[in-house]
């Protein structure tokens, strides 16, 4: 089931609109990178898609079972082990006790953390925590996965690896992913499509398709990155007074 945003608008109280007339269609199984500078309402848009906030105008169509969500910080519960964190998501989804453990182990295996299930979050590195968090959002078993700058706080080496990892998992699970980022390289590296949001108010101003060639040809990818960066800066410059 696709995600459709139609003339979506959001304002808080009487303030200036955060989002204004956002239009986008995201096909099932698609990986879309949502790119924008600060203040473009990226997180608000995700919250609306997740059902955590209501839009003030416009309409949106999302899968009826809601969306899985992954945050910038792993937001794992420190009193639970890695496996228990995943099991909690399964339990809240209504998975039976007997099935939970096996399913959690399977998901840990999927993110290459088969041996770390009994560790507490504070014993894991930032990258490992984010992978547990990814496994937990997969445990929610929703077709739509919303990711709010999940790799922004990681070091460059780890981030590069997690890009490969996320791409692999996306292909294995066939999820629809909306990935919010302010990093142009990240958007080009991951998205099949890159949507650029303007700032204040947020609105989709341009989009680019990223092909399989871009995945392997650094020259092509670099070129596209340059084009998108130029457009993004143009958008930022508009706000200089």
């Amino acid at each position: 089931m696709p995600v459709v945003l139609e003339n979506l608008g959001k304002r808080f109280g009487d303030g200036a609109p955060v989002l204004d007339d956002v239009n986008a269609t995201i096909a099932s199984g698609e990986f879309v990178a949502l790119l924008g500078a600060s203040g473009c309402g990226k997180s608000t848009l995700l919250n609306i898609m997740a059902g955590l906030e209501a839009p003030t105008s416009g309409a949106l169509e999302v899968p009826s079972d809601g969306a899985a969500f992954m945050f910038q910080d792993a937001a794992l519960f420190p009193w639970l082990t890695a496996r228990e964190n995943i099991e909690l998501a399964l339990q809240l989804r209504g998975v039976g006790k007997a099935e939970r453990r096996a399913k959690a182990n399977e998901l840990l295996e999927l993110v290459h953390l088969g041996g770390a299930g009994d560790k507490r979050p504070h014993e894991l590195s930032g990258g490992m925590r984010q992978r547990v968090s990814l496994a937990r959002s997969l445990a929610q078993d929703r077709q739509l996965l919303l990711m709010d700058e999940p790799f922004a706080a990681l070091d460059a080496i780890t981030r590069d690896l997690l890009h490969d990892e996320l791409e692999r998992i996306w292909k294995e699970t066939g999820r629809t992913i909306v990935f919010v980022t302010h990093n142009v390289r990240e958007a080009v590296r991951l998205g099949q499509r890159v949507l650029l949001l303007s700032s204040r108010p947020g609105r989709v101003v341009e989009e680019w398709a990223v092909t399989e060639e871009h995945r392997t040809d650094a020259g092509l990818a670099g070129q596209l990155t340059g084009v998108i960066t130029a457009r993004l800066r143009e958008e930022i410059r508009r706000h200089a007074k």
Binding site: W79, L92, H112, H122, L161, R215, G222
Partner: protein, 343 residues
């Protein structure tokens, strides 16, 4: 799903890439293999340029290895725990020093011996009380009442505290009252309790409840207030209902603050109990440590008074050392909150 076969998928089975030398080269070759129209890209720049923009690993197995390597580099080596003797010896040394100072002061003879007895006199009195069986009776009676009163307080205060912390109108309505009750010394309830319940155990328990319950509720509420807002959001996203949110997310998240409240609640129970026992003597109220203390006052026997004070203090220290300290330490350690503290 993408329709062009990806190099990763095409060159799967994962086990297939034998440890060949080109394993760690960026995906160029694998990609070229898949798309015959692709031009050889041998000269397309240094691999470092690729890093952020294109695939950096050459397959599932390669990715697994890289991640495993990074994981082990980024994880701390496990440090072995060993018994820290200073933790045991330092408190004992401090105690010895204090007793020596006490003995030294007494031996100066500034005050009459019956007003300020020495450590040995008090120890002798403890022996006498033990021989009479009075000491065991007093400690047992008080400890039993203190624990029962405390446990009932916990059972009452926990749901009430959770409810107050979760339901904003209730909290606004009753919050100030609960905080106020914590400030009100529970001894103030003793006269009222004696009038209502007479010289019975009910009086003692009532006073204990009035001391412990507000303080446990307050501890729980402040624990809940300190929960990172992110936890609630995660709970909502994971689909927790109100009850699941309270029991499976809010309560465990608030546990450090709650435990602080429990500790304070115990302290208030114990203090209130002693106050009640000192003031309300006789009737069907049993013989507790407070009663022993009051008896010493009536008989003007300073050794009994001091023995009772030290016993009350001793029980408090023992409960802290044997019950609360281990629980707290375990709790903090499991959440990674203990490193760098002076505990």
């Amino acid at each position: 799903m993408p329709n062009n076969p990806t190099p990763v998928a095409a060159s799967a089975p994962d086990a297939a890439p034998a440890p060949s030398p080109d394993r760690f080269r960026p995906a160029d070759e694998a990609a070229g293999f898949d798309r015959p129209d692709a031009t050889p890209r041998a000269a397309s720049g240094a691999p470092s340029v690729h890093a952020a923009l294109t695939r950096t690993s050459t397959g599932h197995e390669d990715l697994r290895q890289l991640e495993a390597g990074l994981d082990s580099l980024q994880s701390d080596a496990v440090r072995k725990a060993r018994i820290d003797w200073s933790r045991i010896l330092l408190p004992i040394a401090a105690l010895v020093v204090l007793v020596l100072i006490w003995q030294f002061y007494v031996s100066l003879g500034v005050k009459r011996r019956d007003l300020v007895p020495g450590p040995l006199d008090v120890l002798g009195q403890v022996g006498v009380l033990w021989g009479e069986g009075k000491l065991q009776e007093a400690v047992w009676t008080s400890l039993q009442r203190g624990l029962v009163g405390f446990l009932i307080s916990v059972a009452i205060a926990t749901p009430v505290g959770l409810l107050l912390a979760q339901v904003a109108p209730l909290r606004r309505a009753f919050g100030p009252l609960i905080s106020g009750l914590q400030v009100l010394p529970s001894v103030a309830w003793v006269p009222a309790a004696i009038i209502w319940f007479g010289l019975t155990d009910a009086t003692v328990y009532f006073v204990v409840f009035m001391g412990a319950i507000p303080s446990i509720i307050n501890g729980l509420i402040s624990g809940v207030d300190q929960i990172p807002p992110q936890y609630r959001r995660v709970g909502t996203v994971l689909g927790a209902n109100r009850f699941q949110m309270a029991v499976q997310i809010i309560l465990p998240a608030a546990l450090p603050g709650y435990l602080g409240g429990l500790k304070q609640g115990w302290a208030f129970s114990w203090r209130s109990l002693m106050a009640a026992e000192i003031i309300a003597v006789g009737g069907t109220i049993g013989f507790g440590l407070g009663s022993l203390l009051d008896q010493g006052r009536v008989l003007s026997d300073m050794t009994v008074v001091m023995a009772a004070i030290l016993l009350i203090l001793g029980v408090g220290i023992l409960i802290e050392l044997l019950v609360f300290a281990p629980i707290e330490k375990r709790l903090l350690r499991s959440r990674g909150l203990l490193s760098g503290s002076t505990r």
